[in-house]
Amino acid sequence: MTNFDYALWIPLLPFLSFLILGLSANKIKARAAGLTGVLSLVLATALSLLLAWSYFGAHGGGHEQAYAALQPLKWVWLRFTDTLPFEMGILLDPLSVMMLVVVTLVSLMVHIYSLGYMKGERGFARYYAFLSLFTFAMLGLVLANNIFQTYFFWELVGVSSFLLIGFYYDRPSAVAAAKKAFIVTRFADLGFLIGILILSYYAGTFDFAQLNAPDGPVLSKDWAPVFGGHSLMFWALLLIFMGAAGKSAMFPLHIWLPDAMEGPTPVSALIHAATMVVAGVYLVARLFPVYELVDYGAALQVVAWVGAISALLAAIMAMVQMDIKRVLAYSTMSQIGYMMLALGVSDGGADALGYTASLFHLFTHAFFKSLLFLGAGMIIHALHTNDLREMGNLRKHLPWTHWTFLIACLAISGIPPFSGFFSKDEILAAARENHFWIFAIGYFVAGLTAFYMFRLYFTIFWGRERQYSHKPHEGGWNMKLPLAFLALITLVAGFIPFGEFVSADGLPHHSALDWKLAGSSIGIALIGILAAMYLYSEYKQLPSQIARSLGPLYRLVERKFYIDDIYAFVAKRIMIDTIGAGVAWFDRHIVDGTMNLIGRTTLRLSSAIKGVQSGQVQHYALAFLGGALALAVFFFFRS
């Protein structure tokens, strides 16, 4: 058995980097700061690759036995009760190891890329500090061996996301976006927390291993329905999924994600494309046995539908966006919807194809989506704008970007042999087996994806040449290198026999492509691409004409289905302006008013009775005798 204790250093290295950068408080030189960040990540990446190598390699090839879930480290961090301690620990299983690789790799790329992208920015050290903090938190989240630890890092991830979105804190839109991101996810986390409370109360443990164990406290019992025809466990899982949906920007908790694009683009690549936003998927996958078995997978149904709807809505919204990053953001949402959908359609069967497919997609998506974002970053870096309408015919100016971007677009559209094709195809296969309508949505979305991605691609790199204030040029090696690296992965990742490593039951599975399905999905992708090509490869009036002819429908989409407005209404009008102001008013006027009234009444009373002391000695005598006689009368009548 290999000793995996060094796994602790994987999250710890970025944390150290964060401490160094954070405590030096911007006094550190930019170059040193960047170096610290990158170096820590290089080490962490190396460690995690080593770990993955030895973990997966331990079994050798061709084995038929499950990967062991290891807990090399575990200590009680805070003892809630003797039976319910809050532990910190490391859980190594295929899922976490895979995530470890994804997170460190993408993070490393982003760290390197940022050296160029963020060069000369104010708060460069702060940026790297936050980036390190995020990486630490994400790694901690991935390695968590119990649900409370997950929650711990879940929140940390959220806050580092907040800090990074709000990195340009003097930009009001960035501040608003950061706030929105934090508050929406916080709201979702409320569900998560309550879910944890319910789950742990009935299960008596936080530990994933125990929760997922077939003979554990959750799965060995039949939970009687108590509410709405479902058991409490179901509701707990649903609440936990609420947290997952919030982090993963699932409908209807997705509204923060497009706005989060206010953060620096590398941040979007890392957090809002590759890693943090898939934490929800990761969480559901973590608790997959529970989701699968409690109430016969009823919660999983919800997951599937939420994923499907999110995928569809996001894809639709992505078609009309004019901000390059927003298109990518919606695309992210859509793809995560895919992943959720895939998890949701994993039926209780032995091979649970959807589970593997989902995580495979997570894996591939992380790379090509961060590639897309970094490419977008390159463009923004060159043009200083996000607006598609100010772009065009950039393929000559930005060749590296162009080619890598194209690779990524093809990958996401599901064109073989790029990685996205394989994972997406598995998802569709899984969905088809399970639920027709979900499959149909997935299939349709595949076409939409191809369409809007290539809309993006053609608009940027083809189309009309614009008046650029200065000639666009690409960044240095530190920006190009990550692009190249990610593109490389995108090219080859599809051929990884993912099912060999990651599967619902831990056993290796071999998945074969179903060429019938693959063919049709390639077909719809091609249709999408061609449509986009027709509309956008050269400048035409047609797209706007179509938009105009769709009228209200178009507006509906453009206004993001008015979901943001509903939220704004609830948050601003109801929470702050009605309840908040109401409570404030109530407190000032009723509660405080009552106290003041008591005080003032006493004083008034005092003023009112002062006159009794009239200065007339006879009045005093009257009172005196009256008092004496009153006493007498009182006792006469009483006895």
Binding site: T602, I609, V617, F624, F635
Partner: protein
């Protein structure tokens, strides 16, 4: 009669000697040296006070008309301390134009004879002695209240006091006559055996109680208090609020337990009602006062209401609480009056708003006032807290939790107006603050004594144990 037993009357005799000595001095002394008289009187009285602390046996004299016990002795000592402080504070006042050189002796003479009256009232073994003590205690004070001849307010205070007091003693006497009719004796010892609750004796008791309540300023028998306190010279007001009231409280406590044990159900009920009325109305009246003397008058009314809580239980612990409280109250209240007097004497200012910014010009005086207010309000760690706490404790011990709650809420109300004084002195700043001044030595001594009392009487528990030991 065994004349050697007259030693039991040590304090009365000593004070009488003092009185006579004053008369002799008045006659014998050169009028140019009259200004030394206050010092002499003070020294003599200090001697007398010290004498009072010497142990003395219990016993009775004159066929039971006079009796003394260590507890009564202690009560007299407490009154002595009160008067001693008053004298210290009056030292500068009596030599001011308000009194005039040729009336100094009389001032002391009247104060001492009033104290003598209080002694007899406390030590009385029958109604006659009690009545005479009462009158001896109050009539000279009426003259003292009117002492500032050129001020209408002073005369007004005097006439109000004398008329009200006479009416009160009339009612009290009517009550005594009814009690006498049913109980068959004026001697407490015999009367107690003869008394049992019936229509006439209850009426007598109620009249008697009302008359005595007048002296303690219990609501609704309190109306004279504020006017008299305001109009009288401050020394006299101090005397009234501490010594007169203290004596009356003591007597009430003694008589309720010794003479009216069979009426306990009745007087408990009355005390509850009157205590609530007194505390509450005293407080309500005090809330909006601006004149410091008048303000302190109402405050002392409210304090009297609190004292009643100690009488309720009717046991030694309650009596101890009362004695202890009065002792503390004497120090606290006289500290307040001392400051008021010092300021009035130097600046003629008596209004609360004129005290604004006092701390910045006269920090020490303000600190004394602060302590006094805190002690009166019953805030730890000063003595007033302990005094009140033990009063409440004794009432709670007798089961009067509701009353205690009312009382403590009243403490909070009272805190409001005590804080008003502190607010004026500490929080506010003034355009024309009272200029810095230094009081005369006796005043400063008295204030130091008061502060020492306020600070240590509570914390130093042997005092309480000592009082308890004497009461038992």
């Amino acid at each position: 009669m065994d004349w050697q037993k007259l030693i039991l009357m040590r304090d009365e005799l000593s004070l009488t000697v003092l009185l006579l000595l004053l008369l002799v001095l008045e006659i014998a002394m050169d009028s140019r040296r009259k200004h030394q008289l206050p010092t002499i009187a003070l020294a003599l009285f200090a001697l007398h006070t010290a004498l009072g602390f010497l142990p003395l046996a219990s016993g009775h004299l004159f066929g039971g008309m006079f009796h003394t016990t260590p507890m009564l002795q202690l009560m007299k000592s407490i009154l002595n301390i009160g008067l001693l402080l008053v004298l210290l504070q009056a030292h500068a006042y009596v030599r001011s134009e308000w009194v005039g050189r040729e009336r100094i002796t009389e001032f002391y003479f009247l104060l001492f004879s009033s104290l003598l009256g209080a002694y007899f009232m406390i030590s009385a073994g029958d109604f006659l002695m009690f009545y005479l003590g009462l009158e001896l205690a109050s009539l000279p004070v009426a003259a003292l209240a009117a002492y500032e001849l050129s001020r209408q307010r002073s005369a007004e205070a005097g006439i109000k006091l004398v008329l009200s007091a006479a009416l009160a003693s009339g009612v009290l006497l009517l009550g005594i006559s009814f009690l006498y009719a049913t109980g068959g004796s004026m001697y407490f010892e015999d009367l107690q055996k003869g008394l049992s609750p019936n229509v006439l004796s209850v009426l007598g008791f109620l009249f008697f109680f009302s008359g005595l309540s007048f002296k303690i300023s219990l609501v609704p028998f309190h109306f004279w208090t504020a006017d008299v306190y305001e109009g009288a010279p401050i020394s006299v007001t101090s005397y009234l609020s501490v010594v007169s009231k203290g004596a009356a409280v003591f007597v009430l406590g003694i008589l309720l337990v010794q003479l009216f044990p069979l009426y306990a159900d009745i007087w408990r009920e009355i005390l509850v009602v009157i205590a609530i009325l007194t505390m509450t109305l005293g407080n309500l009246f005090a809330l909006r006062q601006t004149n410091m003397k008048r303000f302190l008058a109402f405050s002392s009314i409210a304090q009297a209401g609190f004292i009643l809580l100690g009488l309720l239980a009717g046991d030694s612990r309650g009596m101890t609480a009362v004695l202890y409280f009065v002792l503390i109250y004497a120090f606290s209240n006289l500290a307040a009056f001392g400051v008021v007097q010092a300021i009035a004497l130097h600046t003629g200012k008596e209004t609360m708003s004129e005290y604004e910014g006092l701390y910045r010009s006269n920090p020490r005086l303000s600190l004394v006032m602060l302590l006094a207010m805190f002690s009166l309000a019953g805030v730890p760690p000063v003595a007033g807290f302990f005094g009140k706490f033990f009063l409440f404790m004794s009432a709670a011990g007798a089961g009067y939790y509701g009353l205690v709650l009312v009382a403590v809420i009243n403490v909070v109300i009272s805190l409001y107006y005590y804080l008003l004084v502190i607010r004026a002195m500490f929080l506010r700043k003034s355009e024309q603050p009272i200029a810095h001044f230094v009081s005369d030595l006796p005043m400063r001594i008295s204030l130091v004594l008061c502060v020492a009392g306020i600070l240590f009487l509570g914390l130093y528990s042997p005092v309480y144990e000592w009082v308890l030991g004497l009461v038992l």
